[in-house]
C-alpha cells in the first residue's frame, strides 16, 4: 500500500532550542532559464527552508505582440501567426481562429472538411498529451526516457502532418470555410495506421508509469486545486476536469461535428498532480475512440466552402467570440470588425495557459521547491500562448 506524502515536519528541534536558531526567509527567482522545459517563465518564490511561503509568476519574456500584428494584416494574414501561439499544437490554434471568423461572417463548412478538421485536431490532442506527460516526467527526474518515447510517437504524427500540409510544426492548414488541401486516401490510410498502433503504445506507457511507486509518491496530494476555486479562477481543460469540473467545450458548444461522436469526458476527483496526469491518459483513449469513428465515417465532398473568396474577404462590422477545446483548455478568439471590414480592428486571444496560471500560487503554498516544478509541469503551459 503506497502511503501518500503528508505535510508534517520530518524533524523536530531539540527541546529548549526553539528560538535559539535565527531563521530567515529566502527569496529565490526560479528564473527564465531553468532545466524544466516549459519556456521562459519566471517564478519569484519566497522560501522558508525549502517550503514555499509565497510565489509570484512573472511572464512577458516571450511577448511578441501577436495581437498588434494582426491589426495590421488582413483576416487570413494572421493565420500563420496563430500556429505560433501554442507551438506544440498548431492545428487546433488554426481551427479556433477559423471558427471565430466563420462565426462572425456566417460561413458554413462542408462536412468532409469538418471531419478532416476533427481528425487533425484529435491527432494533435494525443500528440500534445503524450508530450506533456513526457515533459512532466522529465521534471520529476526521469531523465528523458518517457520524453523520448513520446517524441517517437510525435514524429509519426508529424510525418502525416508534413505529407498533408507541407510543414511539420507550423501547419497553417485551416482556412475560412474548410481546410487548405484535401486529405487523400493514402493520408487517411496512414492516419488509420497511426490510430491502430497507438493503443499499444499507450499500454506500454501506462505499464511503465501509472503504477510507478516514485510517480505515486511524488504526485499524489501535491498541488491540490479545489473545484470551486477552479471554476472561479476560469480554469479550463484537463486541469479543471481533474478537479471535478464537468465542462468540455466539445460537449457544451458541440462545434464542428462533435455532436455526432460517442465519447466520454473523464473527470477527476482530487485535483492533484496525479489526477492531472491520469486524466490526460484517459483523454488520449477517448480521442482514439473519436478518431476511429471519424475515420470510419468521413464522407466525400469539397474540402473548402466554394462561396468563400480569399481576395477582398470582408466581414460586416461588429464583434464576436469563438472558442474550441484546445488540448490545453478553452482557446477563444475575440474579434472586432469595423466599417472597412478587411482587417480586424481588435483581435484578442483568450489563452488557456495564461489563465490556468492564476492559481499557481495557491497550489504551491506549503509544498517544497521540487514540487513547484512538478506543479508547473502539470498545469501544462506553453509560453507562446501565455505571452502571445
Amino acid at each position: 500500500m503506497i502511503q501518500p506524502l503528508t505535510d508534517e515536519k520530518r524533524f523536530t528541534l531539540t527541546p529548549g532550542s526553539e528560538g535559539l536558531i535565527e531563521t530567515q526567509t529566502l527569496e529565490v527567482s526560479i528564473g527564465p532559464q531553468h532545466p524544466s522545459t516549459h519556456g521562459v517563465f519566471r517564478m519569484d518564490c519566497v522560501l522558508d527552508g525549502e517550503t514555499v511561503v509565497a510565489l509570484k509568476p512573472v511572464m512577458g519574456y516571450l511577448h511578441r505582440n501577436h495581437e498588434q500584428l494582426a491589426e495590421r494584416m488582413a483576416w487570413l494574414g494572421s493565420m500563420p501567426y496563430t500556429d505560433r501561439l501554442d507551438y506544440l499544437n498548431s492545428m487546433s490554434n488554426n481551427w479556433a481562429y477559423a471558427l471565430a471568423v466563420e462565426k462572425l461572417a456566417g460561413i458554413k463548412v462542408p462536412e468532409h472538411a469538418e471531419y478532416v478538421r476533427v481528425i487533425m485536431s484529435e491527432l494533435t490532442r494525443i500528440l500534445n498529451h503524450s508530450c506533456v506527460i513526457g515533459f512532466m516526467l522529465q521534471d520529476l527526474g526521469a531523465w528523458g526516457t518517457p520524453l523520448l518515447y513520446a517524441f517517437r510517437e510525435r514524429e509519426r504524427i508529424l510525418d502525416l502532418f508534413e505529407a498533408v500540409s507541407g510543414s511539420r510544426m507550423m501547419c497553417n492548414y485551416m482556412r475560412f470555410g474548410g481546410v487548405r488541401v484535401d486529405m487523400t486516401e493514402k493520408d487517411l490510410a496512414v492516419a488509420k495506421d497511426i490510430v491502430t498502433r497507438f493503443p499499444r503504445f499507450l499500454d506500454e506507457f501506462e505499464k511503465l508509469l501509472t503504477g510507478n511507486e516514485v510517480l505515486l509518491a511524488r504526485t499524489q496530494r501535491v498541488g491540490i486545486l479545489p473545484k470551486e476555486l477552479a471554476i472561479n479562477a476560469s480554469i479550463s481543460g484537463p486541469m479543471a476536469r481533474a478537479s471535478g469540473v464537468e465542462y468540455d467545450v466539445r460537449k457544451v458548444d458541440k462545434y464542428g461535428v462533435y455532436g455526432r461522436f460517442d465519447f466520454r469526458v473523464p473527470v477527476g476527483d482530487v485535483g492533484d498532480v496525479y489526477d492531472r496526469y491520469y486524466i490526460r491518459i484517459l483523454e488520449m483513449r477517448e480521442s482514439i475512440k473519436i478518431l476511429q469513428q471519424a475515420l470510419r465515417d468521413v464522407p466525400a465532398g469539397p474540402h473548402v466552402a466554394p462561396e468563400v473568396k480569399l481576395r477582398n474577404f470582408k466581414i460586416p462590422p461588429g464583434d464576436g467570440y469563438g472558442r474550441i477545446e484546445a488540448p490545453k483548455g478553452e482557446l477563444g478568439f475575440y474579434l472586432v470588425s469595423d466599417e472597412g471590414g478587411k482587417q480586424p480592428y481588435r483581435y484578442h486571444v483568450r489563452p488557456p495557459s495564461f489563465i490556468n496560471l492564476t492559481t499557481l500560487e495557491d497550489m504551491c503554498l506549503g509544498h517544497k521547491v521540487a514540487d513547484v516544478v512538478i506543479i508547473l509541469g502539470s498545469i501544462d503551459i506553453v509560453l507562446g500562448e501565455v505571452d502571445r
Binding site: 479562477a233 465542462y247 472586432v336
Partner: protein, 198 residues
C-alpha cells in the same frame, strides 16, 4: 438562454438605476452585448453571477478595446467581459463597460473580487491599454517590463525607431529611417524625392 431583450429587462429591474443598452454583434454571430455604465457594472455582474436563472460562474474572457475619436463622437476604451455558466452550461453573456481615453480618467471597477479568473486579464488590459481597475488586488504590469512607460496596444502608440536597416522601406518606416540617419537604398531615395516634389 433567453432573448437579449428579456435579459436586459431582468438585469435593469434587478439593479435599479443602471443604464443598460444592447450592442449588436455581426449579424451572423448572434452574440449581442449589454453595455453597462461604469457605476453599476459591479452590481450587474454580481446579479448575473448569483441569480439562480443565470449562475454565470465562469468568466471566460476579458478584453480591452481602444476606439479612437471618430468625427464628433469622442473616443473611449471599452472592456468586454464574456461570461459562461458551468453549472447550467449556457452562455455567453457579454458585458461591456466604457471609460474615457485620457489616462487620468480611465478607471473602471474591477470584477476580480467576483471572478478570480479576471485577475491576470485585467492586469493585461492595464498594461497594454492603461485602464485602471479599482479594487484589483495587484494591479501592475504583467507583460512589459516594469520600467516601461506608456501603453503599447493603444492605437496612437508609436514604437521606438530601431529600423536602421530595412531593405525596402516605404511610408512611415521610410520617414523613421531618414530621421534616425539610417541607410536608404536608391529606390527609396527616389520615392522620397518624388514625395518632396509634390
Amino acid at each position: 438562454m433567453e432573448a437579449i431583450e428579456k435579459i436586459k429587462e431582468v438585469a435593469a429591474q434587478a439593479v435599479p438605476g443602471a443604464q443598460v443598452e444592447i450592442v449588436n454583434s455581426t449579424p451572423a454571430a448572434q452574440q449581442p452585448a449589454l453595455l453597462v455604465d461604469r457605476e453599476h457594472i459591479y452590481a450587474i455582474a454580481k446579479f448575473f453571477k448569483e441569480d439562480p436563472r443565470f449562475q454565470m460562474d465562469f468568466c471566460s474572457c476579458v478584453t480591452g478595446v481602444d476606439y479612437l475619436q471618430k468625427a464628433d463622437k469622442p473616443g473611449f476604451i471599452e472592456v468586454v467581459y464574456h461570461l459562461y455558466s458551468v453549472a447550467q452550461k449556457h452562455g455567453p453573456v457579454v458585458l461591456k463597460v466604457r471609460a474615457p481615453r485620457e489616462l487620468d480618467q480611465c478607471r473602471v471597477p474591477s470584477l476580480t473580487p467576483l471572478w478570480r479568473g479576471a485577475e491576470f486579464q485585467e492586469r493585461e488590459a492595464y498594461d497594454l491599454y492603461g485602464v485602471k481597475f479599482d479594487g484589483h488586488p495587484n494591479l501592475r504590469r504583467i507583460l512589459m517590463w516594469d520600467e516601461f512607460t506608456d501603453h503599447p496596444m493603444r492605437k496612437d502608440y508609436v514604437p521606438p525607431s530601431d529600423y536602421e536597416w530595412e531593405p525596402t522601406p516605404h511610408d512611415d518606416t521610410l520617414q523613421r529611417t531618414v530621421q534616425t540617419g539610417g541607410i536608404t537604398p536608391p529606390t527609396a531615395r527616389e520615392e522620397l524625392e518624388k514625395a518632396k516634389k509634390k
